[in-house]
């Protein structure tokens, strides 16, 4: 084994800028909270830091690809996903600000300490960035834990609420079990190959072939990652956690957290040809078909919007697996496009739930009945949710259609007809509940005063972000060429 001569130059710093800035922001926010507790100040610091990190992706692009320690590599692929994680974190931060309550009126909104939420969010975001840049099993594990552990806290943030606490504990226990599987799998792989870098693993497995040890190791790693991605049959936690978590945290779980895990899965799958074997494709095919069908079927009769979105996310990651299994030609691009469109869409959908539940109350506005006739009270907010539902269903004029088009194209190109067929069937089933949500918004309501978004929601940070996301979902659906060019430039080299 060669000695690890780690040399850090200014170029490396340049490449790491987004991560460094996020880390610095975390520390600054922590110190600021220690000095003076102020919701608005904490929020502003967080947003400035995240924006700076996002902008610093541009100089980082100039020095790619570059290995930063054996654990991480910053290439165009990593930059794309770092940007995606940062953008979704930013969106979640604005949603949280709206959700936790107005700083001028501490009686309204979240009753406890609000500021630590941003701290946890920044830490999780940092974990996501490490994860998408990982090229070594150790890097993968560090990133994954850094992403997961703060998320436990976020899910249980409203700990005095039974549902939130239950969701937090459930998520922690199951996620820890997933991590344990992952670690065991890594250990087995290391025992066989003697290396933990992705490419080293690939070389070793290509030359030495597979044995029981490797197969067991890969399977256990897959189980661990499937837990995090809530793929069938490891999906049982998803609806409960989505329902129990505060709405903006659920948005983070559905967007940044899953994007980062899927990106690292993609890198692992593409770099280590060990995963290219027939049996692995078979397993992934079964998981994909099961996720698509079961996710969609279980969502059919949900009357709770958060649970419904949870089940639908299971199905959507099934669609993504189709592109992963296809794994040639268009596939990597398809995943990049699909993850972006899915992130936008789920941020939008959870954003509406968040604003409807704003400011914080004992229970989020997640019952479908609470959305009945929303169009006649909050027309633009309804337009947002309508676009998001259409986008989730993959109807033209929305970003979701471009994503679905890509996934189908990847599936057809690889001639995986079973998978293509299940995408078609899954979409048809999915339509039923997306349409159900959509039409609920327009039905005339009986005269009942209900929990509603504040009437000036559009003028707040969260509202502005939501409208921007909707515009983006529409523009990408009508003119996706710039995005496609961007993604095409950030495939794994």
């Amino acid at each position: 084994m060669e000695p690890l001569a780690v040399e850090i130059t200014s170029t490396h710093f340049m490449a790491m800028l987004p991560l460094l800035i996020t880390a610095i922001t975390t520390i600054v926010v922590m110190l600021a909270i220690a000095l003076r507790r102020n919701h608005a100040l904490t929020f502003i610091l967080t947003v400035i830091g995240l924006n700076a990190a996002l902008i610093s992706v541009i100089p980082a692009l100039g020095v790619t690809p570059i290995e930063v320690t054996p654990l991480m590599v910053i290439d165009r692929f990593a930059c794309y996903y770092v940007a995606l994680v940062l953008i979704s974190t930013l969106a979640c931060a604005t949603l949280m600000h709206a959700y936790l309550g107005d700083h001028r009126n501490p009686k309204v909104g979240y009753p406890g300490n609000r500021e630590e939420m941003y701290l946890l969010l920044l830490l999780a975001c940092l974990g996501g960035q490490v994860l998408v840049s990982a090229q070594h099993l150790a890097g993968l594990f560090i990133g994954l834990e850094l992403l997961s552990v703060p998320t436990y806290g976020m899910v249980a943030y409203a700990f005095f609420n039974r549902h939130s606490l239950e969701a937090g504990i459930k998520y922690m226990v199951l996620s820890a079990a997933g991590s344990a599987f992952l670690l065991f799998g890594m250990a087995l792989l290391y025992a066989d190959a003697g290396t933990m870098s992705f490419s080293g693993l690939g070389v070793s497995l290509a030359t030495m072939g597979e044995n029981l040890l490797v197969q067991a190791g890969i399977t256990m790693m897959l189980i661990g990652l499937a837990f995090k991605l809530s793929l069938v049959p490891f999906h049982l936690w998803t609806p409960d956690v989505y329902q129990g978590a505060p709405a903006p945290v659920a948005a983070f779980l559905a967007s940044a957290s899953k994007v980062a895990v899927f990106a690292v899965l993609l890198r692992l799958y593409e770099i280590s040809p060990a995963t290219d074997g027939g049996w692995m494709n078979g397993v992934l095919t079964v998981i994909a078909v099961a996720s698509i069908l079961i996710g969609n079927l279980l969502a059919l009769m949900q009357s709770n919007l958060k649970r419904l979105l949870g089940y639908s996310s299971i199905a959507h990651f099934g669609y993504l697996l189709v592109a992963l299994v296809a794994s040639e030609g268009l596939a990597v691009e398809a995943i990049g496009v699909y993850l972006l469109t899915y992130t936008i869409t789920s941020l939008g959908a959870f954003g509406v739930v968040t604003l409807m539940s704003t400011p914080f109350q004992e229970r989020d506005a997640d019952g479908l009945y609470q959305y009945r006739g929303l169009f006649w009270r909050r027309p633009y907010l309804t337009a947002v949710l309508t676009v998001m539902m259409l986008s989730l269903a993959g109807i033209p004029l929305t970003a979701g259609f471009i994503g679905k088009f890509y996934v189908l194209a990847a599936g057809v190109e690889a001639q995986k007809w079973l998978l293509v067929g299940s995408v078609v069937v899954g979409s048809a089933i999915g339509l039923f509940y997306y349409l159900r949500v959509m039409v609920t918004l327009f039905l005339v309501e009986p005269n009942l005063q209900r929990q509603d978004a504040p009437s000036n929601w559009g003028a707040r940070a969260g509202g502005v972000m939501l409208l921007a996301i909707t515009a983006l979902a529409f523009v990408l659906g009508v003119y996706p060429q710039p995005l496609l060019a961007l993604v095409q430039g950030s495939v794994l080299g």
Binding site: L390, A393, I395, P396, L397, F401, F405, L408, A409, V412, E413, V420, V423, V424, V425, S427, A428, L431, F432, L435, R436, V439, F442, Y479, P480, Q481, L484, A485, Q488
Partner: protein, 509 residues
């Protein structure tokens, strides 16, 4: 440059209607009416000026009467590519006309959320025009799927609340799922076709002209043809996959039914003639007997079910299934006369079905029921409407002097040379047609009256719409030559594709 405007006008008009709602209830209606009139007039102007001897035909690069192209998604070689030939202009003129009528027939019927209603109405029509113009396959699919959303809203929000267990939302959802799911099958077929073309030439493109030159193995061709056929068959509707249609019609508001029967069904026939046959002539020739027998089955089955209905709108809906069966036979016969007949039949059915649905709507506004069992004796109770219903019922059964007669006659004459048995059995559909059309009149307008109170007669607006349609239907019946001339070149192209393949198939056997 005029082609994109044909699509943009309805979309912009729709947005204006939506925003104009705050100016009162009448403004959106007038904006919608003006928009549709503009579309109709533009269509007529194009019809009178463009040269429709240009149409795609096998062997050469497709020629068009008018064309418009700008690059759109360069990554996949997709462009915003519109083109016009005789077939498309006829369909667009029909769309414009029925657009005007559907605005007019909702004038009193729709009284809430008027702006949003007209937004949806305009966007359906914009999407339909897009389908008739797009010759980039991605763009075609884009419009094909896009028009579903406003139609869904139209049925789900302004539809009639039906009998228990058959709410308008169920009907709308069924419509959406049927069409969208089958549409995805077509999308898969489109992508497969594009990728096969890419593997052969190294050029990634969705352009009609390029994809026509794709070399396909027999199996691949047959499968891809099926992919397209399934999508079009659902919209057509061909019998095993027709069940969304009566539900959607029964619950839809009048304007929705007019658009659905008048033009949305025609997009399927258009799609078969424009895409499925030219792309896959050999497979289509092989498939032709099956498709024609499906058509025969649709004719008879639609007619029988139509006869059994108690809901007047469902009756007309099933009669549409029956009439579109003739079009299906004609398309797969590969005979010039039959194909020309199909075009006339599409126009005539568009006019007569629209008129029948408008009449149903007017009846409903007065009686608040669509059930025959609560009608009867209307002839004595109101002027005009029963007589006009009789006229359109007669048109629907193919009375000479109406466009429907010309269409069905040409179809039967043309198909007889190709498939005598199919034609003979299909011709019995005309007899069944008389049965259900006359029973509709009999049940609704004759027999014992439920009460003696006279019913409010037709307003000038309502009478004007119906008389216009009647006049046009007679015009089409006695002088169909302009329509035949316009569609001649397009149909000749389709016929050449199909007959070459049919001859090849015949010599191989």
């Amino acid at each position: 440059m005029i082609l994109p405007w044909l699509i943009l006008i309805p979309f912009i008009g729709g947005l204006l209607c939506w925003q104009a709602e705050r100016l009162g209830n009448v403004v959106p209606r007038w904006i919608a009416l003006l928009t549709m009139t503009l579309l109709f007039v533009l269509g007529l102007w194009l019809w009178s000026t463009a040269d429709f001897s240009l149409a795609p035909a096998p062997g050469t690069a497709p020629q068009w009467a008018a064309e418009f192209q700008v690059p759109w998604i360069a990554r996949f070689g997709i462009s915003f590519h519109l083109a016009l030939d005789g077939l498309s202009i006829l369909m667009i003129v029909l769309t414009g006309l029925l657009g005007v009528l559907s605005v007019l027939c909702s004038w009193n019927e729709i009284d809430k959320r008027i702006g949003f209603f007209h937004l949806n109405l305009m966007w359906i029509l914009g999407g339909v025009v897009g389908v008739f113009l797009a010759i980039d396959l991605f763009l075609f699919f884009f419009f094909w799927e896009m028009m579903l959303v406003p139609m869904y809203f139209l049925i789900a929000l302004w539809g009639h609340s039906g009998s228990p267990g058959k709410s308008r939302i169920t009907a709308a959802t069924k419509f959406f799922i049927f069409t969208q799911a089958s549409g995805l099958v077509m999308l898969v077929a489109i992508i497969a076709l594009v990728l096969i073309h890419y593997n052969q030439t190294g050029i990634l493109t969705f352009a009609y002209a390029d994809l026509l030159n794709t070399q396909l193995s027999a199996t691949a061709e047959y499968l891809l043809m099926l992919g397209f056929f399934i999508a079009f068959a659902v919209k057509f509707p061909v019998v095993p996959v027709h069940s969304w249609l009566p539900d959607a019609h029964a619950q839809a508001p009048t304007a929705g039914s007019v658009d659905l029967a008048g033009i949305l069904l025609k997009t399927a026939a258009y799609g078969l003639m424009r895409f499925a046959l030219p792309f896959f002539p050999d497979a289509s020739a092989e498939f032709a007997p099956i498709a024609m027998w499906l058509g025969v089955f649709a004719i008879i089955y639609g007619a029988l079910l139509s006869f059994a209905q108690t809901d007047i709108k469902r009756l007309v809906a099933y009669s549409s299934v029956s009439h579109m069966g003739f079009v299906l036979i004609a398309i797969y016969s590969g005979n010039q006369i039959a194909l020309q007949g199909a075009v006339v039949q599409m126009m005539a059915h568009g006019l007569s079905a629209a008129a029948l649905f408008i009449l149903c709507g007017q009846l409903y506004e007065r009686l608040h029921t669509r059930d025959f069992r609560e009608m009867g004796g209307l002839w004595k109770r109101m002027p005009w409407l029963p007589a006009l219903s009789l006229f359109f019922a007669a048109a629907a059964l193919g009375l000479p002097g109406t466009g429907n007669f010309v269409g069905e006659f040409l179809i039967l004459v043309g198909s007889f040379q190709v498939a005598p048995w199919v034609t003979v059995i299909a011709a019995t559909g005309l007899v069944f047609g008389s049965v259900y059309s006359l029973i509709m009149i009999h049940r609704a307008h004759f027999g014992p009256a439920q009460s003696d109170t006279p019913i409010e007669g037709l307003k000038p607006r309502e009478l004007g719409m119906i008389l216009t349609l009647a006049a046009l239907l007679i015009l089409l019946g006695v002088y169909p030559q302009p329509v035949l001339d316009t569609s001649h070149a397009s149909m000749q192209g389709v016929q050449q594709w199909m007959s070459a393949a049919l001859n090849q198939l015949a010599s191989a056997r």
